[in-house]
């Protein structure tokens, strides 16, 4: 099995789907000849032809609006929004249209669209290349929101997303495109091939949507994370010396409540971590769910570790990023409470 980084794995998923289904097509800003600013669509135009993978104008609402029309025709468009920070011009088409077409037409129409977009900080991208807007999608009924944390899942989840008959927001943690990142920005990046999850099968396979992965079993505290923060949480657990159970949610909506509840009932403690702004972040929903389902098992307040309630500041990137120290502290507070 070839070792791939996230970019290669995502590219491989797209390649497999272009191969398999003539109704799959890709478009977005700079995704065609150039292959995307992060190179996720590299080579796909050359291999599959200009109408299967092409450049779009810089108009996110137009991209998503057109994708909706295409999907109504019967295609399965996979569109790229260059950075998650630039998805807002298309937000109306997402919220008012894509998310509710099946509902408002009582299933007469449905729109199998995948919106791929890189999100998150850690690349010194400043406030408009670092955002984590997942909570703006989890609040919208009708959207499936997916965030992979490694190449193997990335490919399998992306294929599931494309094959889903519902629209999927597929957020790609750009900081870990090239290698897992545990938040120790001062250390050199370890590339993916050294990581077991970089073994990516060729061709078609799926990882089911709606299923979390327990990436570390533990007895003392449940840690709910996704994307880049999975790696940060694993490092933090080690550094805190806490026997944490780390759960990689993978799909945010519908969230895998079974796995979460089983774990918190076992550990009695819970830490939630994400890069997005704390207030009204997806961590708030997780926190509400955990206290609702596991109230009588909880032995300590649920801890949230998140980006501060400010835009992502360029020079204070590492003060903003909820790194292993902050996550470890939260774990310690949770187990010591």
């Amino acid at each position: 099995m070839p070792a791939m980084n996230m970019i290669q794995a995502l590219n491989s998923a797209l390649d497999a789907m272009l191969e398999r289904d003539p109704n799959v097509l890709i478009f977005g800003e700079d995704v065609g000849y150039f292959g995307g600013v992060f190179r996720v669509t590299d080579g796909l135009q050359k291999k599959h032809g200009v109408t299967r993978c092409f450049d779009s104008p810089i108009g996110e609402a137009g991209i998503i609006g057109a994708a909706i029309g295409m999907s109504v025709y019967g295609l399965r468009p996979v569109v790229e929004i260059q950075f998650a920070d630039y998805i807002y011009p298309g937000y109306d088409q997402i919220v008012s249209e894509m998310a509710r077409i099946r509902y408002r037409s009582a299933g007469d129409f449905f729109v199998p669209i995948t919106i791929r977009t890189p999100y998150g900080g850690g690349i010194f991208g400043g406030q408009t290349h670092s955002q984590s807007p997942e909570a703006l999608f989890t609040h919208v009924a009708g959207l499936t929101t997916v965030i992979p944390s490694n190449p193997h899942d990335a490919k399998g989840l992306l294929i599931s997303a494309i094959e889903s008959d519902d629209p999927v927001i597929f957020l790609e943690p750009k900081r870990i495109y090239n290698g897992p990142f545990d938040g120790h920005h001062e250390k050199p990046v370890e590339p993916w091939p050294k990581h077991p999850m970089s073994e990516v099968p060729e061709g078609h396979y799926t990882i089911p949507l709606g299923k979390a992965a327990v990436v570390r079993e533990g007895a003392d505290v449940t840690v709910l994370v996704y994307g880049t923060m999975v790696h940060v949480a694993l490092a933090a657990a080690k550094e805190a010396g806490v026997d944490a159970e780390v759960i990689d949610l993978r799909t945010l909506i519908p969230v895998d409540i079974g796995t979460i509840v089983a774990s918190v009932e076992k550990t009695g403690r819970c830490v939630i971590a994400h890069e997005a702004t704390l207030t009204s972040g997806f961590g708030a929903e997780l926190c509400a769910l955990v206290q609702e389902h596991c109230f009588y098992h909880l032995e300590a307040p649920i801890e949230r570790v998140a980006g501060w309630d400010t835009p992502y500041p360029h020079i204070f990137e590492w003060d903003y990023f909820p790194g292993p120290k902050r996550v470890a502290d939260a774990m310690r507070r949770a187990v010591e409470a």
Binding site: G59, G62, A66, M70, Q93, E97, R102, R104, D108, D166
Partner: protein, 410 residues
């Protein structure tokens, strides 16, 4: 040293407000038949004048004149007339149903029936329409049963969209009628995407979309024209300029400085300005644009110049912002009257037949209403089952919605 005069902010104003006497002498109405029809493969930049004139076929005497005369058969004309008359009868009935508290809301298309109905004849059955909320005429002309439409308005057990949408928000894939949105303009780029998909597949189907002139101000109008131009999408983009957007006259959407058809020019697309109350002119323009689209020459923007005779919706009171009789002086007349006169001029129709058809339409609607009300109204009778409220959010009902369905007792 600086010697500049002070600026001032221009706020466009309609010519007449309540209490004033409206007249439309400032609207330039060329004689029917005077605008030349170019071949449908003409270069957009060579026909920009079409964006500033007004394509008209039916003259005041009811004759079809000029090169835009589509020369269609009488059967089609009669069908078109019937569709418009049924639409008007339906509108009147549903408006009254709302006033009686039987449905929550309604929007009439009175005076604008031709802008929709004519398309049902100019398009093929499998072409796809992306309507706004005022294209009921299209759905009726395509043969969708008034029964289904009414059940939608009544949100009863037979409502095809299961009570989920406001009245008039129809959806019919079978009739090539995309689910209507409450959000203005979103369907415009969607139509372009659909048309791109047809081209992508190498098929021969085209799309058409409708928005109001007020809605052209939305960003989606721009996206639609831009994508259509760039990818040469086989789509007809219609702007129904009925002069009003709720209480705002068309100058608030930019109509003071240029026509809406002229917006096409900057995208290198043809823009046609058409008498929207002239069934034949609308048909002819649609047919020209459809010919062009099917020949892989891309999109056309069509401004359908008309007048919103009634209030914006049942929530609106137009007497608050425009002269009550403004519609009376509208220089383009009434689409039903004009087509009727044409058929009579052709010797293919009569006042008596017209009255009879009208009675038939009114009866059909009344009869249907009885059936529909027997099923259920807003106030009682059979509704979709409560549990359906949690369906179709996703293809499969996920755990959290199953749980909520239980909590709701559905």
């Amino acid at each position: 040293m600086r010697n500049r005069s002070s600026l001032s902010l221009h706020i466009p104003q309609p010519k007449y407000r309540p209490g004033e006497k409206a007249e439309f002498s400032y609207v330039n109405v060329p004689k029917a038949g005077t605008v030349e029809r170019p071949p449908s493969d003409a270069k957009a930049q060579n026909i920009t004048s079409l964006a500033y004139s007004l394509i008209r076929v039916l003259d005041d005497e009811g004759n079809a004149v000029g090169s835009w005369d589509p020369k269609v058969n009488v059967e089609m004309l009669r069908k078109g007339l019937r569709a418009m008359m049924l639409t008007r009868a339906y509108d009147d009935r549903m408006y009254r149903a709302q006033r009686q508290g039987k449905i929550s809301f309604y929007m009439k298309s009175t005076g604008e029936e031709a802008t929709s109905a004519a398309y049902a004849f100019a398009l093929e059955r499998d072409d796809m329409c992306f309507p706004s909320y005022r294209q009921q005429g299209l759905l009726i002309a395509r043969g969708y049963p008034v029964f289904e439409m009414m059940c939608q308005c009544y949100s009863n057990a037979r409502d095809p969209v299961k009570g989920r949408q406001l009245p008039i928000m129809y959806s019919s894939r079978e009739n090539g009628f995309f689910t209507i949105s409450g959000n203005l303009g979103t369907q415009f780029p969607q139509a372009v995407g659909w048309a791109m998909a047809s081209a992508y597949k190498g098929d021969d189907r085209i799309a058409a979309a409708w928005i109001g002139e007020g809605t052209t101000a939305e960003g989606d109008f721009h996206h639609a024209l831009n994508f259509a131009s760039i990818y040469r999408a086989p789509v007809i983009l219609n702007v129904v300029n009925n002069q009003w957007a709720i209480s705002s006259f068309q100058g608030i959407a930019g109509g003071e400085q240029a026509t809406f058809a002229a917006r096409a020019i900057g995208y290198g697309l043809p823009g046609l300005r058409v008498d929207g109350n002239d069934f034949l002119a609308v048909y002819a323009a649609a047919q020209w644009a459809s010919e062009r689209a099917r020949a892989n020459q891309g999109a056309t923007l069509i401004e359908l110049y008309t007048y919103r005779v009634e209030g914006h919706s049942t929530s609106d009171d137009p007497g608050r912002y425009r002269p009550a009789d403004e519609g009376k002086s509208w220089p383009l007349g009434d689409p039903i009257e004009r087509l009727k006169r044409h058929l009579i001029a052709l010797g293919e129709w009569s006042e008596a037949r017209h009255d009879a058809l009208n009675t038939e339409m009114v009866e059909l609607v009344r009869e249907t209403q009885r059936e529909v009300e027997a099923i259920g109204t807003m106030e009682g009778g059979a509704r979709p089952p409560l549990g359906t409220m949690f369906e179709d959010v996703f293809k499969e009902v996920p755990w959290h919605l199953r749980r909520q369905r239980e909590q709701a007792g559905g």
